[in-house]
């Protein structure tokens, strides 16, 4: 196994900008609130309670009669508008203040994602919630959340100032492959869940895929914890990911019971159904973001070691 005791890589020289980092963290936190607000809309079957878009009952900003489904949909729209504003500020600020070109592009991508998300939200309303569009709206929401969390991570003091502790990864599949696979299976699970929630699919694919998600995420977390637990930046997201996975499985079971098994003949969304499904969506978003953070930290701290293959007759390396 290839190991280096001494750090071999240094972070890109860039000054830590506390204000920008705090703003990025705030944007990520409000985005999480937005995801919860969106989940409340779907769980309360209130998606079309405000029939027009981009106005709400004919106005851009006017508080409607605070009852029924409009409470959820209107709040969701207002928080979304706030997040869009935060994202514009974050993109412009990052563009002007940040030295790392790739981070400036990421901030721009965040802005593009929020625009796409707004358009998908509008299409959902104007075309009466087609399952594919509504599911895309749900998936892009969590993609944006991951981008916001990543920007918060990249602007953090630890990322900017630390000299990363490096351990080369010689195992196959590599840990970075496993983390990317984790993100992929979580994303598939997110789409399957969204399709079920928006009546585009039965619950079966989502439930069956949960087994695959459990296996892949457990494999990833166990590998990270068993081999790289000394690296705090890897250990922490791996532990959180494993904990969130357990919580998510329990919430998924509760959501299944309250909505599919017990709530089949309910006249309206009932409170246990709403609580369990909203919590399931919220923890799902946290799980995806944690998997993304783990992948980023693994990419930084556990690079893949490559062994050059040399034909058998030329085992002796020759200097060029």
């Amino acid at each position: 196994m290839y190991r280096t005791k001494e750090p071999t890589l240094k972070a890109v020289a860039t000054p830590y900008n506390r204000s920008l980092h705090r703003f990025a963290v705030f944007t990520a936190c409000v985005t999480f609130v937005l995801i919860v607000a969106g989940a409340l809309v779907t769980s309360n079957d209130a998606g079309l309670s405000v029939p027009d878009w981009p106005t709400s009952f004919g106005y851009l900003i006017k508080v409607p009669h605070w009852v029924g489904g409009a409470r959820f949909e209107w709040s969701h729209r207002m928080i979304a508008g706030f997040v869009a504003t935060l994202t514009v500020i974050l993109a412009v600020w990052t563009w002007l203040a940040e030295r790392r070109r790739w981070l400036r592009l990421l901030a721009l991508a965040a802005f593009g994602t929020v625009l796409a998300q707004a358009v998908l939200g509008g299409l959902t309303v104007l075309f009466y919630q087609p399952p594919a569009v509504s599911s895309a709206h749900a998936a892009v929401a969590q993609t944006f959340f991951c981008i916001a969390v990543a920007i918060a991570l990249f602007t953090g003091r630890q990322w900017v100032e630390e000299v990363p502790q490096i351990e080369l990864d010689t195992r196959r599949p590599s840990l970075i492959t496993l983390t990317l696979l984790s993100i992929f299976v979580l994303y598939v699970q997110l789409i399957l869940g969204a399709m079920f929630r928006h009546k585009g699919m039965t619950w079966l694919p989502h439930v069956l895929h949960a087994a695959i998600v459990t296996i892949v995420l457990t494999w990833t977390a166990v590998r990270a914890l068993s081999l790289y637990s000394k690296i705090e930046a890897v250990r922490r997201p791996a532990v959180i990911m494993l904990s969130l996975l357990i919580a998510q499985l329990c919430l998924g079971f509760m959501a299944f019971l309250t909505r599919v098994a017990w709530g089949r003949d309910a006249a309206q969304p009932e409170l246990p159904m709403v609580i369990s499904t909203v919590a399931h969506v919220a923890v799902g978003a946290l799980l995806l973001a944690t998997a993304a953070v783990l992948a980023i930290q693994v990419w930084r701290h556990v690079p893949v070691a490559f062994e050059e293959l040399v034909p058998s007759g030329q085992r002796k390396p020759v200097a060029a």
Binding site: S49, P51, T55, Y59, V67, G68, A91, F111, A266, A267
Partner: protein
Amino acid sequence: MNKKAWVGALSVLCLLGLWLLVGCSKKETPEEQPAAAPAAAQPAATPIDPNTVASVSGTVKFDGAAPKAAKIDMSQDPACKGANTAETVVADNGNLANVFVYVKDGLGNRTFDVPTQAVTIDQQGCRYHPHVLGVMAGQNVQIKNDDQTTHNIHPTPKDNREWNESQPPAAAPIEKNFAREEIMLPVKCNQHPWMKMYINVVKSPFYAVTGPDGKYEIKGLPPGDYTIAFVQEKLGEQDQKVTLAAKDSKTVDASFKQ
């Protein structure tokens, strides 16, 4: 692309977004609401000899113990003070209400005049009245709001055009029609998720909805062989054949079970 070009592109996008938002922020006035489309020109109705018409009637029963109605919680809107049970299966003493009964087959190529009078749906106590409605294709449906709260009326058809409109308290009735035949077309209110009803759009005037006593009657049928369909929102459809001679008055009963 250099830095200035990127910032420029970003600014243009922001301005475009703001322009779109402001441009679309004009308040919708009631005059701008789409009205019911005029019914397409109908071919002349096939004449029916009134001296030979027959009728069919009967009772729809529910076999077994009626399922317990699901509870409705209207606490999210203080203006909603209606009955607190769902109307999915309403069976009193074995008599099944809200079953749509219509002549599914046997009328051939006959055409019928579309009534000029609209049928009414009333939103009262945060429920739809009636719960199941029959209407001819092209006939206007007038939707009223008698509640002190905003409803939105949202039919979710398979074969007709979907729409979703908001109706504040004391607003003018909304008039719509449905162009194509469609049975058990769901209508819901996204403000009050327990509010559900079904519209049945048919091509002939030969339909009825069972009352609380489970009874129905269809009059004015020309003699012939017919298929009578009984459709219940949860229990499904049953078909029965009947042959009607001139001036016949036959009884066709149906029975559903869960």
